[in-house]
């Protein structure tokens, strides 16, 4: 059945279209810039490239050892993400579904963790990683990123767990399910959208960060992608062409992750809808 579209519907669609234009036009410039020389980027930033040259991409691949850095970045981001999602969901579940004495205190403790971006504690963190032998190690980065991402994950997951109807887990317990099964098989599938949100929200800053690798990683073979790309930032000469090529390539894995997660996310929603 065809429903008549109200003025509001047109307004909302208009907003989406405007938003899409606002988002895509700068991105078009980004894509085009990847094919230009630095001088051309500044001289005519909005013109199409004077010729189709893959020079920048080749430079990034060779000078930057893109493939090696890509591997390191994938290890670090996925490793940290696995810890954040698992531990964050577990703690969020405990705080969101159980009433116990220390609940508020622990909740606030996690909340406090949200307020300390690693860069505010960089020097003590460095000293500590050195003491633990975790400098120049991808493990060091993974653990620091995981610890940094967990507070937000707990916070978001607890919020979502709290909104689930209370009879679900109790019904499962009546059926004799153990606590882990209640969590893993009953509750976790119901917060799939939240997991997708936490996943993408945590992955973005980790993937795009260059400051922590810059400080904690010196071995060339352990550099991450963003750290590797900083070689194109000079004091007086920045190779913007190469940077655009590199950063455009670097944004692809995250775009892919988002597409994957948002699929999960939509599937989860329709599944929920049919269940009623």
């Amino acid at each position: 059945m065809r429903r008549r579209l109200s003025g509001l519907d047109w307004l909302l669609r208009g907003a989406l279209i405007l938003n899409a234009i606002g988002v895509l036009s700068p991105l078009l410039v980004m894509l085009v810039s990847a094919f230009k020389s630095t001088r051309e980027i500044f001289a005519s930033p909005f013109a199409p490239p004077s010729m189709l040259s893959f020079q920048n991409f080749i430079k990034v691949w060779q000078v930057g050892q893109f493939d090696l850095y890509l591997r390191n970045s994938l290890i670090v981001t996925l490793g940290a993400l696995a810890l954040i999602l698992l531990f964050g969901a577990m703690a969020g579940y405990a705080l969101g579904r159980f009433r116990f004495r220390l609940n508020d205190v622990i909740y606030l403790f996690f909340l406090a963790g949200l307020m300390i971006p690693a860069k505010l504690a960089l020097i003590p963190l460095f000293v500590q990683l050195k003491a633990l032998g975790l400098l120049n190690s991808l493990w060091g980065l993974i653990l620091v990123y995981a610890a940094g991402g967990i507070p937000a994950a707990v916070f978001i997951m607890a919020g979502f767990f709290r909104t689930l109807p209370s009879d679900l887990d109790n019904a499962a317990r009546m059926d004799g399910a153990g606590e882990w099964q209640v969590f893993w098989r009953v509750m976790l599938p119901l917060v799939r959208p939240a997991l997708a949100i936490v996943g993408i929200y945590s992955a973005i800053p980790i993937w795009n960060d260059f400051l922590l690798p810059l400080v904690f990683i010196q071995k060339p073979e352990l550099k991450t992608l963003m750290q590797g790309l900083t070689v194109f930032f000079g004091q007086y000469q920045t190779d913007w062409g190469a940077l655009f090529a590199g950063l455009t390539l670097a944004s692809l894995p995250l775009a892919l992750l988002y597409l994957l997660l948002s699929e999960e996310f939509i599937k989860g929603l329709t599944a929920g809808a049919t269940k009623g």
Binding site: L16, V23, L95, L108, F109, I123, G148, I150, V154, S251
Partner: protein, 313 residues
């Protein structure tokens, strides 16, 4: 619950449940304690010592705080704080409002949903280096299309040096921030609306409620948990605001401090800068400490309040 069968208790719960609870909480707690809390406490303690470059000297009591709240750092601090506060208010209204609008638009399954789902979120995944650079180009007084357009239609007086004019630099920066982040509240709200049971919505419609009434009286109240998340993350993000101002306006918050933030102030004091500053770890740590307690106070009060309201709602 029958107490008699399980007399032993832990954390106020039956023992077995208490142990499971510990198991659920421990990994996250330990990881955070070791890699966030301990270094953070250390960083705060730094503010109580004298420093020679990066060597800790004698205990200094509150000396670093006295310096922070004396000329000229008090002025820098208050100005930066006012920028952080403004950022919070503007982002809360504009970014959250737009996010909600976009989420609602997506929820109604418009044609091209898949396409819009991507475009709404795309800026969030980009590296800030790219975002900052692109917007510097767009807002550029010489080459930027915005000013070219304004000149083209004869509005020469409006073609301002957006990022270099003290009056427009901060608003411009906030708009870029909205461009970059609006997809995130949109996503959270979308998930929130989708989680609302169809029954509520159907029931409201059967009662003859208009779309506006359904939105206001059914959807909005049930979005409370999503609001809690977004308001708090926006609050913390605004007061720790660093990356975008750093990339677009430099560590000194150009022009003449018009885009300075507390995190920028911390960074340039703690580590020094290339072209102007010398590192002063003690003073930087003092900024860090005051910032931390300000945000903590705000966030704890906010979180408790919002959580309580959720329960009542």
């Amino acid at each position: 619950m029958s107490r008699s069968s399980h007399p032993r208790r832990f954390l106020g719960l039956r023992l077995e449940r208490g142990l499971w609870l510990t198991l659920f909480l421990a990994p996250a707690l330990v990881l955070m304690l070791v890699f966030t809390t301990l270094p953070a406490i250390n960083a705060l303690v730094y503010s109580l010592f004298k420093w020679q470059a990066f060597k800790r000297g004698a205990f200094a009591g509150l000396e670093n705080f006295q310096r922070l709240f004396a000329y000229p750092f008090d002025q820098q601090f208050l100005r930066a704080l006012s920028h952080n506060t403004l950022a919070f208010v503007v982002l809360l209204v504009v970014q959250t409002g737009l996010g909600l609008l976009l989420a609602y638009a997506l929820w109604k399954h418009p044609p091209g949903l898949r396409f819009f789902r991507v475009t709404v979120f795309l800026p969030v995944i980009l590296s800030l280096v790219i975002v900052g650079f692109l917007w510097q180009l767009f807002l550029n007084p010489l080459f930027g299309p915005l000013n070219k357009l304004l000149h083209g239609v004869g509005l020469h007086a409006l073609a301002l040096p957006w990022l270099g004019d003290p009056a427009t630099a901060l608003p411009a920066l906030l708009l870029v921030n909205v461009w970059r982040w609006v997809g995130f509240p949109a996503l959270v709200f979308l998930a929130g609306i989708n989680a609302i049971s169809e029954e509520y919505l159907e029931a409201a419609k059967l009662d003859g409620a208009s779309e506006g009434q359904v939105f206001r009286h059914v959807i909005l109240p049930l979005l409370a948990p999503s609001f809690t998340i977004i308001v708090l993350l926006t609050f913390i993000g605004s007061f720790e605001w660093f990356d975008l101002p750093y990339v677009m306006e430099g560590v000194n918050g150009t022009p003449a401090g018009a885009t300075d933030t507390l995190a920028l102030m911390f960074y340039r004091l703690a580590f020094g800068t290339v072209d102007a500053g010398i590192s002063d770890v003690g003073l930087g740590a003092a900024v860090n400490t005051v910032l931390f307690f300000l945000v903590l106070l705000g966030a704890v009060l906010g979180a408790l309040y919002l959580r309580r309201r959720e329960v009542e709602g």
